[in-house]
Assembly symmetry: C2
Homo-oligomer: 421 residues x 2
């Protein structure tokens, strides 16, 4: 009887990416086709949806809607930034999660997210074990920041890398054309503590005169003196300067060079909310070098650019979702799917599994051998690392209005079985 089969839940968490829906699609399609899972439920807005028992039956959505997730950026199930604390401090939350799982006969929890999400999944899983609750938790990696431990790279990174690189390349041509007045352009990209996104922009520089001429990453100490020296040197060589700056640049003491101290200065995970690096660089360059500078801040556009997303990234994201289901159904538990780059001449990527606890709260920064000695650019090794990840154009369907077709779930809410939380 179909009704007696255990159900699965899939949830998305943290900052969206161009391919987090591909991962969810991989989970959903393989959970359905396995024949061993009853309903595949979506938790509206990640763990918040679980806590609020705000669930819907994804397996009842139209198959073409589910398939179209592969072409839709952001997080179609809904995401959140709600962070659970330790088992002791957020005990009620964890217990509530298990109550909701029990109430809806959920034996499988697929959580697609970053290190904070893996931490949550790990703790839910531990509590389930401790309380004799039948549950399999498998994590699916996701982050544009590419900073998860234990995996060669993260789904979401290849697409942001591709978009940021083409953006540097294109805006670089603009600066080249108009250097007689608009001499300096600063492209601000995301990456709170890791410079992977900024580093990827370096792929755009095929020849020394190509943008970007300078790349600043949080891993290399940033000073304004250094900036001014760097800018003057590039100007002398190329008459223009194109800079890519990670949002989280830090000084000699490890402090962010800009910090928004307003009411919204920290996100609910306690991370400092950054911004304004490009503006600060612009102001300093205009004042100290005496050239006009302008800045582009791609913001959330860099993580949602399905129209120039990496096919490799979309496919690997889907694969991670598929492998998560396979792992769960073969008895694995408390693991996250990882991406493994085979040691071969041609890029070949397979998947593995690693304990959730090893990923939780880990952070993988850009290694020193990927950053040039001057701390203002990348090395060939970084280019070799990122190049395979941006390959291929993810297909998109264009509607009559000339714009992409994105899906949205019908999202029929599941009847609640528990009291309000």
């Amino acid at each position: 009887m179909a009704d007696t089969k255990p159900n699965a839940i899939v949830a998305q968490s943290g900052g969206p990416t161009a391919v987090i829906n591909s991962s969810a699609c991989g989970v959903i399609q393989h959970a359905i086709s396995s024949g061993r899972i009853g309903k595949v439920l979506g938790a509206t807005n990640g763990i918040l949806g679980v806590l609020k028992e705000d669930l819907f039956d994804i397996s009842a959505e139209k198959p073409e809607t589910i398939e179209a997730m592969k072409q839709t950026p952001a997080a179609a199930i809904g995401s959140c930034r709600y962070k659970l604390k330790s088992l002791e401090r957020s005990k009620l939350d964890y217990e509530r999660i298990l109550d909701v799982f029990k109430a809806h006969n959920i034996h499988y929890f697929f959580y697609i997210g970053g290190n904070d999400s893996m931490d949550t999944a790990d703790k839910v899983n531990k509590l389930a074990k401790d309380t004799g609750c039948e549950l399999t938790c498998i994590g699916v990696p996701k982050t544009i920041d590419n900073d998860l431990a234990c995996t060669d790279h993260c789904p979401g990174y290849g697409s942001v890398a591709k978009y940021v690189a083409v953006s540097a390349m294109s805006a670089g041509k603009d600066t080249e054309a108009l250097y007689t007045t608009d001499t300096c352009t600063i492209l601000e990209v995301m990456g709170r503590n890791a410079g992977w996104i900024a580093a990827a922009a370096g792929l755009a520089q095929r020849q020394p005169q190509d943008a970007p001429h300078l790349i600043y990453m949080p891993e290399a100490v940033f000073t304004f003196d250094k900036l001014i020296t760097d800018v003057k040197a590039v100007l002398k060589e190329h008459k223009r300067v194109f800079i890519v700056a990670g949002e989280g640049l830090k000084d000699e003491n490890g402090n962010y060079v800009t910090a928004d101290s307003g009411d919204f200065g920290k996100d609910s995970f306690g991370h400092a909310q950054l911004g304004g690096v490009a503006e600060m660089l612009k102001a300093v360059i205009e004042k100290e070098v005496g050239i006009k500078a302008r800045f582009n801040k791609l913001g959330t556009n860099q993580r949602s650019a399905m129209h120039f997303a990496s096919l490799t990234d979309v496919n690997e994201a889907y694969l991670c979702g598929q492998k998560a289901v396979e792992a769960a159904l073969t008895g694995e538990n408390g693991k996250m799917v990882t991406l493994i780059r085979e040691d071969s001449d041609q890029y070949n990527c397979t998947t593995g599994l690693t304990p959730l606890s090893e990923v939780a709260n880990g952070e993988k920064k850009v290694p020193l051998q990927y950053i040039n000695k001057a701390g203002n650019g990348i090395t060939q090794a970084m280019k070799d690392y990122v190049r395979p990840l941006v390959q291929g154009q993810a297909p998109i369907t264009i509607a009559e209005d000339g714009l992409p077709v994105f899906m949205r779930f019908d999202r029929k809410p599941l009847a609640k079985k528990l009291a309000e939380y």
Copy 2:
């Protein structure tokens, strides 16, 4: 004898676009194939290149380099923001231009640019007539701002419209996914005095819940009270709000709501240099509405996004270049090529000619019937206007590194014949 044929010069001016090189390509290829023109010379950095006699022989470049201009954004010949004043005030400049033309046997001047450039071309042409200098000046329209008079639309606009619309659509999905914390997103787009670019983003809104929910254009009076009221109303309806803001919003008195008053506060045309609208909106919304807001500022990326450019735009830009040469060779002079939208059910665009003087310093704003009554969005008529302009995907060639192939001229400088200027 080839040497006795008169030469032509082609120059690009003002802010680059995704398709200004397509227009130049149309000029170059048709000037060469006409058999009636000697060399096609490029003026490095627009009129500055003419003044400095900084010219190169484009017709000697590889044909594949010239062909690849159609796939390359920005301004491959080089652009500038140098504005000539009246014939009286900038007399030496105008005379110098004619001296350079005479020295290099230049009888044809093709100037691709906006209204300031058409003004320059018009004045050069008038002085040539007055002084008995043989010269044909034909203008080719170019501006992402879409604010040129006498033409249905401007090459460059369709591509920025397409890119801005897909950016609103994509970042809108991001806001939809993460609305529980990141509730408001502001997308700042270009458009100093005309709201055409902001208006185009409205194409992304297929259903009321889709982004953008609010569009602010310079043509509609902007007040912060109105903003707060608007944001609260959208929040109530959709729990999130996505705003597109033109950079040049103005208050009841016609003053910009933000104005950079620094050293670089004005460009060399005397236009106020704007920026910071999105940041100001963000600050007001966070303080007065109490939700977190973030902003994306596409900057020069919006006008150089060849990777999602409109094929219609590329083709029409090329056509304008071709028609400029045809007009010059059939005895037209002192005209700009215009785009004419045929009055038919299906979009059909032909070209016309209009006197340079009618375009010079004119400005076409978004008409009232394209703006909704509340002054915070667009009407169906605006969607019907812009939809045909974004159709089709301009082809790009992707290199092995996963990024587009852009051309760059070999740019062998022409020997100077005059004294330095």
